[in-house]
């Protein structure tokens, strides 16, 4: 899939080679191709439209006229713009802020099956490596064996798990786990919540009440990289209800182009912090905006060619 897109784009840019400057006319086809590439990568339709008109404006601007090759400048503008929207090259924005008064509380939220429980284990491992005392909280009281799942991960890592199978109140569990964490001098508390639909008001209220009860330092929205157009609806609702602090994109180890990353970023304005790249607990990396940009455009080679020129 990447290859055919590359070829398509290459041929567009080849046609543009030799032009002295970018004009509205000579980027028409290129814009169409970029738009297609982004839609095929599952970037939301409206987000694509907005992005394209922004880039078009830039491409027709002054800096472009000075340049030698219209096609190269155009690719670079598209790629730079995408990278910058996704978070620029500053990786510090994607760090998790640790509270000055421990424990730091991190709450994971998202749709069913997006990867929250696995991500809880990955975060735990990440902090454990940095010599932090971590507590994971099994706050999914609905999914069959959700508590067992987190406990298995805790055992694998040697990380403490707070759970209470008899307690049917997720807010109460969160509250008590917080007290337990303080008592046992934990540095980090990671709360695993049940997957839920953004349109399920009752369950969205539950998250809001957990938030109210323990005031998390971070509320991370865990999203599947394979998510399609609906990412904007889901992310908007989670962000409106909970004022999330960041996003973790999972399952990037496949061949999904991951356009949802841009959609979510656009509608929430919140930083993408980490990505999941496998089922194992060490398959976890910081989010790199530049890598994501070329993945979404599916024109990595073209971009690196420009960079070398």
């Amino acid at each position: 899939m990447f290859n055919t897109l590359n070829e398509k784009l290459q041929s567009v840019f080849k046609k543009m080679r030799g032009e002295a400057r970018i004009t509205e006319d000579n980027i028409k086809e290129a814009i169409r191709q970029v738009k297609m590439a982004m839609l095929e990568a599952d970037v939301n339709y409206k987000v694509v439209k907005k992005f394209i008109s922004g880039v078009q404006e830039k491409a027709l601007g002054e800096e472009v006229l000075k340049s030698l090759s219209a096609d190269q400048v155009f690719i670079k503008i598209v790629n730079d713009e995408l990278t910058s929207i996704l978070g620029g090259e500053d990786p510090s924005a994607s760090k998790i802020t640790l509270s000055s008064t421990p424990p730091t509380i991190i709450m994971l939220v998202g749709l069913q099956g997006s990867g929250k429980t696995t991500t809880a284990g990955k975060l735990a491992k990440h902090f454990q490596k940095n010599d932090k005392r971590v507590l994971m909280v099994a706050d999914d009281i609905y999914r069959p064996a959700a508590i067992d799942q987190l406990e298995v991960l805790g055992k694998q890592l040697g990380v403490d798990v707070y759970s209470d199978k008899d307690n049917k109140n997720a807010v109460d569990i969160a509250q008590k786990s917080y007290e337990y964490a303080k008592k046992s001098a934990k540095d980090i508390v990671i709360i695993d919540t049940a997957g839920r639909l953004h349109v399920n008001n009752e369950l969205m209220d539950e998250l809001f009440n957990i938030k109210k009860a323990v005031s998390p330092d971070e509320i991370l929205f865990v999203a599947d990289a394979m998510t399609g157009q609906d990412a904007v609806n889901v992310a908007t609702k989670f962000n409106n209800d909970l004022d999330i602090s960041g996003v973790i994109l999972t399952k990037l180890d496949g061949d999904a182009r991951g356009g949802a990353a841009l959609s979510i970023r656009e509608v929430t304005g919140k930083p993408l912090k980490y990505v999941g790249v496998g089922e194992k607990l060490d398959a976890f990396e910081p989010f790199y905006p530049d890598r994501m940009a070329s993945r979404i455009l599916g024109m990595g080679d073209v971009v690196s060619l420009v960079e070398m020129a």
Binding site: Y142, R143, D230
Partner: protein, 299 residues
């Protein structure tokens, strides 16, 4: 219903007050299609066809266009989706798909459906990899009142499924449904493991698995096409279960999949409880595709 609305108004809003077919109408349809995850190429294919019919005056007004559109989509999706028939006993169903798509939950729903139809069911805990996957299936087995064949975590999943088939045979059980670990279609070693399950089962029953169902998450975008293609060619998928239709995602990606691969959607899932499954109905699906979210209610 527990759902609340969203902004997009669906197809009715697009056609509201429209007296003639113009480019604006076609553009809005294109947007509706793409935002339903139908995908650019399938969308273009359908819209271009319609545009042709408009210019040839076959479609003269918005009402005709709307009907033609629904009919076209329904035709694409309405392919034979009956379960494969056989006299074999047990009937073996292998359930596959990427991580978190809803395999295990769908198995519980299928078990309940078969039981309600008077059949005996046995589940095979073929996901020996994911943390507490076996426990999850066991809880569902208990709730559905069906036995679960399992081994310990980390054991060979082909062996578990084979055991279940043997055990079902000796106990004269009608249906065996095998769970498998979620896997991305890009992982060759994991795809080979699936092929092995199929191969091992065939030793006992040459025509089994009778159904290989691919579970696709309606929330997913165009990657589902790649999933269907790879699972389809690698392990011979016989049908799709489209899950999570209770959200605001429309599952439009299935249109291109069915069209291109002639792979039928056999069931849809629309919730987390055992009752939230039913056979796919093309007409109903197409209606829902064009409704705004708060109008859609599959149950």
């Amino acid at each position: 219903s527990k759902t609340s609305g969203r902004i997009i108004g669906g197809m009715e809003t697009i056609f509201l007050g429209k007296k003639e077919i113009d480019e604006e109408l076609l553009d809005e349809l294109e947007e509706l299609f793409v935002t339903s995850d139908i995908g650019v190429s399938t969308t273009m294919k359908i819209i271009d066809d319609l545009r042709n019919d408009v210019s040839r005056k076959i479609l003269k007004n918005p009402q005709q266009l709307k009907n033609a559109l629904k009919q076209k989509l329904t035709e694409i999706l309405d392919i034979d989706n009956e379960l494969v028939k056989t006299d074999d006993k047990p009937y073996v169903i292998l359930v596959t798909g990427v991580n978190g798509a809803g395999k295990t939950t769908s198995i519980a729903k299928l078990a309940k459906m078969f039981k309600e139809n008077g059949m005996s069911v046995m589940l095979a805990a073929g996901d020996t990899f994911r943390a507490a996957a076996i426990e999850q299936l066991e809880i569902w087995g208990e709730r559905a009142g069906v036995p679960v064949v399992k081994q310990k975590a980390g054991s060979d999943s082909a062996a578990v499924v084979y055991d279940a088939v043997l055990s079902a045979k000796s106990k004269k059980i009608d249906v065996v449904i095998a769970d498998t670990a979620g896997r991305l279609h890009t992982k060759d070693n994991l795809m080979n493991e699936l092929k092995k399950i199929s191969r091992v089962v065939k030793k006992e029953m040459p025509d089994a698995p009778h159904e290989v169902l691919l579970v696709l998450d309606a929330t997913s975008g165009q990657n589902a096409v790649a999933q269907a293609k790879t699972f389809g060619t690698e392990i011979g998928v016989t049908g799709v279960i489209l899950t999570k239709l209770d959200g605001t995602a429309k599952g439009g990606v299935i249109v291109g999949i069915v069209d291109e691969m002639q792979l039928p959607v056999k069931f849809i899932g629309f919730g987390e409880s055992m009752d939230d499954l039913k056979p796919f109905d093309a007409g109903e699906f197409v209606e829902a595709l064009f409704e705004s979210a708060d109008e859609t209610d599959y149950s």
